[in-house]
Symmetry: C2
């Protein structure tokens, strides 16, 4: 991680103004941070003392289970907060966050302005909306996973992540995201090819039956 200063700092601060999130002047408490691709922003199990507002990039939220399984819980995309729960609950154990691309964040020195933040209705209201959405999202992911087999969830994910009719995510990552084994993911992809929904190409899978894919995805909602 490197802290940007001078022109670079000014560039990002101007490009992504966030003063309307707060009813006090937040700039004295800000730093602009740049994380390299693949870098860890939060180490799993640590107790962070910084809150970030991600303005450019994409990251992954991870957790490791006692049995060694790893869950890729969510992809986090700019703009959004990270480490906000730790602001509310002292010393809360955090999950791991790793960048997918080079990522630019505004870091907010919470030790210095925690009091101000927790007394600021404007900020708190926005945080409530954000946390409410997070809770709702996790709830629906939770219930969908219970109610539908991979066939449907994968169809929905392919729709979401494909670009110009091509799906080319890394299997090793997606099986962690969808919570199934690598083997099983490949089985279902093979089955989609079998059923002529996808066609395997050199680099990625080509969607050839959009309608049927949509049908499978729609069953979820």
């Amino acid at each position: 991680m490197q802290i940007l200063t001078g022109e670079a700092r000014q560039y990002y601060i101007k490009k992504y103004p966030i003063d309307d999130f707060f009813s006090f002047d937040i700039y004295p408490y800000l730093e602009v941070c740049q994380f390299d691709k693949g870098e860890w922003i939060f180490q799993e199990g640590s107790y962070p003392d910084t809150m970030y507002y991600m303005i450019e990039g994409k990251t992954k939220l991870y957790m490791t289970h006692k049995n060694g399984k790893v869950s890729l819980i969510e992809y986090l995309e700019a703009p959004r907060f990270m480490g906000e729960i730790e602001l509310l609950n002292e010393a809360r154990y955090t999950k791991g966050i790793q960048t997918v691309t080079t990522t630019i964040c505004l870091s907010i020195a919470t030790q210095a302005c925690k009091e101000k933040l927790l007394a600021d209705a404007l900020f708190l209201r926005r945080l409530c909306v954000f946390l409410g959405e997070k809770a709702t999202t996790m709830t629906s992911k939770y219930t969908q996973n219970q109610a539908y087999p991979l066939e449907n969830r994968l169809a929905a994910f392919i729709q979401l992540s494909s670009d110009q009719g091509i799906y080319k995510e890394k299997h090793t990552e997606i099986c962690e995201y969808l919570g199934v084994s690598y083997r099983h993911l490949l089985y279902v992809l093979a089955q989609f090819c079998e059923e002529k929904i996808l066609e395997k190409q050199k680099h990625g899978y080509h969607i050839i039956d959009e309608r049927r894919l949509n049908q499978l995805a729609q069953e979820i909602q």
Copy 2:
């Protein structure tokens, strides 16, 4: 649902004071409501305009999937908010909430004091903590479900819900809560009996190998 007045109202308002949640006088906006056992507080799919603070009782949060499966997402226990997300997001479709026992709630007329609530840092801070916990809980439920078979999750649930060494929840409900079929729940319970962890009695299952049960439950965390 009936609205309590007179003495009954006074009794509950005195017994569960919540003025320290707000920095303005909330009492003019409160009603004390009593719901019978089995009554629905929110109908699934409706757009509620009331927020509740449950002070006595226990309820269940439900949702129905397109494929007809029903998920019992969570048991909600007093004291806590219900319908708070709808305060933040206009016209949000709600999940269903049904009481398990007779339930007493303070209802807050949000149409009347929404502005005040959304400008009140004291209330918003508490709401943030609540929503943050909710998000964290759902996240860990989600990942646990992905990472562990029923054997472990059921062991943990039996520990949680048993009383004096006896487990006697309704199977029909618990299979929805744990997200498995009724049949499979019975299989795993039978397996626990087979392994002498539980013993089936007339009314409920008796825990006879606390240590082994704990071991299975602990694998989750």
